[in-house]
C-alpha cells in the first residue's frame, strides 16, 4: 500500500508514538491487558500501513466485479440492486407456511426461503418414531409432493426465487419443487433458486446426515450435473459455513472448512468429467454473520478473494463467473439470548450491517424471539425492517465496499485469508475434506473451539450483555409462537390419505429404480423426480437410498 521508504518512516514514527502511549498507560492502564477478536485473534492498539505492508491495490483488491472480487462480485453492487432480503421461514403445516410466505411477499420480501422441520431434514416421514413431538416444530412438515403443492399454492414459481435449506435429502425436495413448477405450467428453465445440498458439513456441524460422506458427495454431484443440463437458473448447492459457525467454530474455521467443502465438491465434479466453467458459476455460499463486526467483514472479503484464487489456481477456471463467490448471509442464531430478548434486535442489526458491508448477495435477519422459539409475525417484521432501514436510511448502500483501505479491515482480511489457507493445507495433507471428515478432523477442531469459547464466557473474559453482565432477575416474558400437536395429527392423516390415493405399484416400481440407479452409479435425479411425481413419500425415497448407501452414524467425538 505504501512504498518501503514511507513504511520505514511510519515504523519509526509508530515506535516514537508507542513511547508516548507507554507513558500514558503506565499511569492509566488500558481496560484490558490484551484485546482479542471474538475468534481469539489478537487485536493491536492501532493499525497503520505497516500492518498491511504487502497489500497491493490492483492485485489484492482490484475492482468490484473483477478478479479477485475482494470488493464485491458485481460492478455496481447495491447501487445497482440491493441485496435480496430473504427471510428463512417455515413452521407447522404447509398451509400455515404458505400463508406466512404470502404475508412476507406482500411486505416487500423479495425471495422465499424454506425452513423444513427436522424429520424432513433427516429424510424421514412425520410418522417415524423419532419424529414424535417434532412435526412442524422447527420448520414446515413436507412428507410428499402433496405438501409441496400446498406450500407454493398461489405463488408463481417463475416470479419468485426460492431457497430450500435441506441437505442429504435435498435432491428429493428439489424434485418435488420441479414437479410443482411443472404443474403450474412453469418450465424448469424458468425456475430459479437454491437448494443447500451441502452434505459434508452435516457430519461436523448440523448433524442432519442420512448417508455416509462419499455417497453424499456423489448425490451432490448428481444434482450439479442434472441442474447444469435441465435447470440452468438453479443453484444446486449452497456451500455453508453458517452451521459450522453455529456449531461453535471460530470465524477462521468457518471460512476454511466451508472453502474446503467447496474444494471437495468441485474436485468431485471435475473427477466426474464435468466442465468446471459450466457448473462453477452456479455454486453459491452461505455464511454466518456474528458479533465481531470487523472480523466478520474481513471474513467476507477474504472469502471472495480466496475462493477466486482457488478456482483460478487450483482448478484452472477461466469463466469470470466461475471465480466469483456469491453468498447468502444469516445473522448469528447463537448470538441471540433468551435473556432480555429485545437486545437481540440490536445484535441482529449490527450483524446485518457487517454482512452488508461485507458485500452479501442476500440476507436473513434473525428475529429477536428466536432464542426460544420460531418467530412470531411481529418479530419477523422487525427483522425484515432492520434490513430495510440499513438499505434505505443508513446510506451504507450508496457506495461499494466503503471500508476498503482501512488499515484494520485490510489487516483483518489478510489474517483471515492466511488462517484459512493454513487449515486448507492441513486438510489437503489429510487427503481432502472427505478423508478429513472420516478421520474426525473438523469435528475435533470445532468441539475444541466451542469448549474454549464456553470457558471464556464462564470466566467473564467474553461479555454477553444481559447474560454474564448487566443480567437482571426480573425479566418480563415475550409472546412466543406456539405450534400445537394438531400439526402432527394433520400430517399423519395426510400421509395415510396419500398412501391410499396413489398408485402404490407405480411407487414401488419407482423406488426400485431409485435403488437400481444408486447401485449403477448413473444420475439419481431422474428416477427421484419420477418417484415423487407418483407421490412417493420423502422417507420412502430416502430409505431406498439408505438400502444401497447405508446409514451414517455419528461417532460422538469429544
Amino acid at each position: 500500500m505504501a512504498d518501503n521508504k514511507n513504511l520505514d518512516a511510519i515504523r519509526a514514527e509508530t515506535a516514537r508514538w508507542a513511547e508516548t502511549v507507554q507513558k500514558a498507560t503506565s499511569r492509566w492502564p488500558e481496560r484490558q491487558e490484551t484485546f482479542e477478536s471474538l475468534s481469539e485473534v489478537p487485536i493491536r492498539r492501532l493499525y497503520t500501513p505497516v500492518d498491511v505492508p504487502d497489500l497491493e491495490y490492483l492485485k489484492d483488491l482490484g475492482y468490484p466485479g473483477e478478479y479477485p472480487f475482494t470488493r464485491g462480485v458485481q460492478p455496481t453492487m447495491y447501487r445497482g440492486r440491493l441485496w435480496t432480503m430473504r427471510q428463512f421461514s417455515g413452521f407447522g403445516t404447509a398451509e400455515e407456511t404458505n400463508q406466512r410466505y404470502k404475508y412476507l411477499l406482500e411486505n416487500g420480501q423479495t425471495g422465499l426461503s424454506v425452513a423444513f422441520h427436522f424429520p424432513t431434514l433427516k429424510g424421514v416421514n412425520s410418522d417415524h418414531p423419532l419424529a414424535r413431538g417434532e412435526v412442524g416444530k422447527c420448520g414446515v412438515a413436507i412428507d410428499s409432493l402433496r405438501d409441496m403443492e400446498v406450500l407454493f399454492d398461489g405463488i408463481p414459481l417463475d416470479k419468485v426465487t426460492t431457497s430450500m435449506t435441506v441437505n442429504h435429502p435435498a435432491p428429493v425436495l428439489l424434485a418435488m419443487y420441479l414437479v410443482v413448477a411443472e404443474k403450474q405450467g412453469v418450465g424448469w428453465d424458468q425456475v430459479g433458486g437454491t437448494v443447500q445440498n451441502d452434505p459434508l458439513k452435516e457430519f461436523f456441524a448440523q448433524k442432519s446426515y442420512v448417508w455416509p460422506p462419499r455417497e453424499s458427495v456423489r448425490l451432490l454431484v448428481d444434482t450439479m450435473e442434472f441442474c447444469a443440463e435441465n435447470v440452468p437458473r438453479w443453484h444446486p448447492v449452497s456451500i455453508s459455513g453458517y452451521h459450522i459457525r453455529e456449531a461453535g467454530s471460530t470465524a477462521q474455521q468457518e471460512l476454511a472448512f466451508t472453502l474446503a467443502d467447496g474444494i471437495a465438491y468441485v474436485q468431485a465434479a471435475v473427477d466426474r468429467g464435468l466442465d468446471v466453467d459450466r457448473f462453477a458459476p452456479h455454486l453459491s455460499f452461505f455464511f454466518d454473520s456474528h458479533m465481531d463486526f470487523f472480523e466478520e467483514i474481513g471474513k467476507f472479503r477474504a472469502a471472495r478473494r480466496l475462493w477466486a484464487r482457488i478456482m483460478k489456481e487450483r482448478f484452472g477456471a477461466k469463466n469470470p463467473k466461475s471465480l466469483w463467490m456469491r453468498f447468502h448471509t444469516q445473522t448469528a442464531g447463537v448470538s441471540l439470548t433468551a435473556q432480555q430478548p429485545l437486545n437481540n434486535i440490536v445484535r441482529t442489526a449490527f450483524e446485518a450491517l457487517a454482512a452488508v458491508l461485507g458485500g452479501t448477495q442476500s440476507l436473513h435477519t434473525n428475529s429477536f424471539d428466536e432464542a426460544e422459539a420460531l418467530p412470531t409475525e411481529e418479530a419477523v417484521t422487525v427483522a425484515l425492517r432492520t434490513q430495510q432501514i440499513i438499505a434505505h436510511e443508513t446510506g451504507v448502500a450508496s457506495t461499494i465496499d466503503p471500508l476498503a483501505g482501512s488499515y484494520f479491515v485490510e489487516a483483518m482480511t489478510d489474517e483471515m485469508e492466511r488462517a484459512a489457507e493454513a487449515y486448507i493445507r492441513k486438510i489437503d495433507e489429510l487427503g481432502g475434506m472427505v478423508a478429513a471428515v472420516e478421520a474426525g478432523y473438523p469435528q475435533n477442531e470445532i468441539i475444541r473451539s466451542s469448549m474454549e469459547f464456553q470457558k471464556a464466557v464462564e470466566e467473564g473474559r467474553k461479555v454477553i450483555v444481559g447474560v454474564n453482565r448487566y443480567a437482571r432477575e426480573d425479566e418480563g416474558s415475550i409472546p412466543l409462537l406456539k405450534i400445537d400437536d394438531s400439526v402432527e395429527k394433520a400430517q399423519l392423516a395426510r400421509i395415510a390419505d396419500t398412501k391410499k390415493n396413489r398408485d402404490n405399484d407405480a411407487v414401488a416400481r419407482c423406488l426400485d429404480r431409485v435403488r437400481d440407479t444408486a447401485r449403477s452409479g448413473e444420475n439419481l435425479l431422474p428416477p427421484i423426480v419420477e418417484a415423487v411425481r407418483e407421490y412417493a413419500l420423502l422417507g420412502e425415497v430416502c430409505d431406498a437410498l439408505v438400502d444401497v448407501f447405508g446409514a451414517y452414524q455419528d461417532p460422538a467425538v469429544f
Binding site: P212, G550, Q553, D554, P555, A556, F558
Partner: protein
C-alpha cells in the same frame, strides 16, 4: 427390592443396581454376589481389545446384532478411561450400540477405569459375573483401547480378539510385545481401506513365528468392515469355533479354574490387608511405626515384619 431374586429373574434394573453396588465397593454387593455365584459359569465370555480408532465399538455393535440373530442374549461391559485429573469420565461406547437399547436381550454397561490399569476397571469381573448370573449367553468385554498393556482381559475372557486396522505398520511391530501374544483371534477392521491386506499378511507371518497355544489352537486372522457389517458372521463363527475348541480340549475348564484361583488369591491378599490394617485402627504403636517409616528410621521391610508380628500376637 430383592436385587438378587430380581436379577436372576432377568430384571435389568436390579442387575444394573447390583453392578453399581459392586463398583462402589459396597459390602451389600459382595453379599449379593455370593448368592448369584451358583448361577454363574454358563456364559461365553469374549474380550475385544485393540488400539484407539480401530472401531471396537462399531464392531461390538455388529457382533451383538449377529449373536441376537442367532437367538443368543448378549451382555456388554465397555470400559473407557477416567480422567487422571478430575476423576471424571465420558463413557461414549454406548453411542454405537444404542440401537440395541430397546432389545430386552441386550444389556450394555459402561464402566470407567477409575485409575485401574490393564485395560479394564477394577470391578469388570464382578460385572461379568452379574450378567452371567442373569442369563446372558454371551458377554462381550470391550477394553479401554488406549493401546498399551491391555492384557488383563485374557484373565476374564474365554476368547480374546485383538482388533487391528490398516495402516498400522510400525504399531503392529509394537503390538508384538504384548497384545499379539494374547489374541486367540485377530480382526483387521476397516478392511476396505488401503493397506488392509498388508496388515493381514504381517499378522499372519508374526503369528506363524509365535509358538502355538499350549492347547493347540492356531490363532486366526479375520477381515471385517464393521460399518457395513461385512465379515461379522465369519467373526462370530470363529468365536464359536474357538469356544468349541476350548471345550473339546478341556482348556476352558482349565482357564476358568486358573482364573478362579487367581481371583481367590487376590481376594485373600486384599481382605488380609484390610483385616490387618483394620486391627491397628487407632493403635499408638501403629502410628509410631508409620512415623518412623516416614522419617526413614525404619525400612519398609522391617516395618512390615514388625506389623505382622504384632498382628499375629493379637490374633492368637
Amino acid at each position: 427390592m430383592d436385587y438378587v431374586a430380581e436379577a436372576l429373574n432377568g430384571s435389568q434394573l436390579a442387575g444394573a443396581r447390583l453392578i453399581r453396588l459392586l463398583e462402589e465397593g459396597d459390602p451389600a454387593g459382595v453379599e449379593a454376589l455370593k448368592k448369584l455365584y451358583p448361577h454363574t459359569g454358563n456364559a461365553f465370555i469374549l474380550g475385544l481389545t485393540g488400539p484407539p480408532g480401530a472401531g471396537k465399538s462399531t464392531l461390538t455393535d455388529r457382533i451383538i446384532a449377529e449373536f441376537r440373530s442367532r437367538d443368543l442374549k448378549v451382555g456388554v461391559v465397555a470400559i473407557d478411561p477416567s480422567s487422571p485429573f478430575s476423576g471424571g469420565a465420558i463413557l461414549g461406547d454406548r453411542v454405537r450400540m444404542q440401537r440395541h437399547a430397546t432389545d430386552p436381550g441386550v444389556f450394555v454397561r459402561s464402566m470407567a477405569t477409575r485409575g485401574h490399569l490393564g485395560g479394564l476397571s477394577r470391578t469388570t469381573g464382578e460385572a461379568v459375573l452379574v450378567l452371567d448370573a442373569m442369563g446372558y449367553d454371551v458377554i462381550l468385554i470391550e477394553t479401554v483401547g488406549v493401546g498399551q498393556d491391555e492384557v488383563e482381559v485374557v484373565d476374564l475372557a474365554h476368547t480374546t480378539a485383538v482388533v487391528a486396522l490398516p495402516g498400522m505398520g510400525d504399531d503392529i511391530q509394537a503390538m508384538k510385545a504384548g497384545i499379539l501374544e494374547i489374541g486367540d483371534l485377530f480382526i483387521v477392521n476397516k478392511a476396505d481401506k488401503p493397506g488392509a491386506d498388508d496388515v493381514v499378511k504381517q499378522l499372519t507371518v508374526m503369528l506363524e513365528m509365535r509358538a502355538g497355544s499350549a492347547d493347540g489352537w492356531q490363532p486366526r486372522v479375520l477381515k471385517t468392515v464393521a460399518v457395513k457389517g461385512e465379515g461379522i458372521a465369519d467373526t462370530v463363527n470363529a468365536f464359536l469355533e474357538h469356544r468349541a475348541h476350548l471345550e473339546r480340549t478341556g482348556a476352558l475348564a482349565e482357564r476358568v479354574a486358573e482364573r478362579e484361583l487367581r481371583f481367590f488369591r487376590e481376594l485373600v491378599k486384599e481382605m488380609a490387608a484390610d483385616l490387618i490394617f483394620g486391627s491397628f485402627q487407632g493403635s499408638g504403636a501403629y502410628a509410631d511405626l508409620v512415623e518412623r517409616l516416614k522419617a526413614r528410621q525404619v525400612d519398609p521391610y522391617s516395618a512390615a515384619e514388625t506389623l505382622l508380628a504384632g498382628f499375629s500376637c493379637r490374633a492368637t
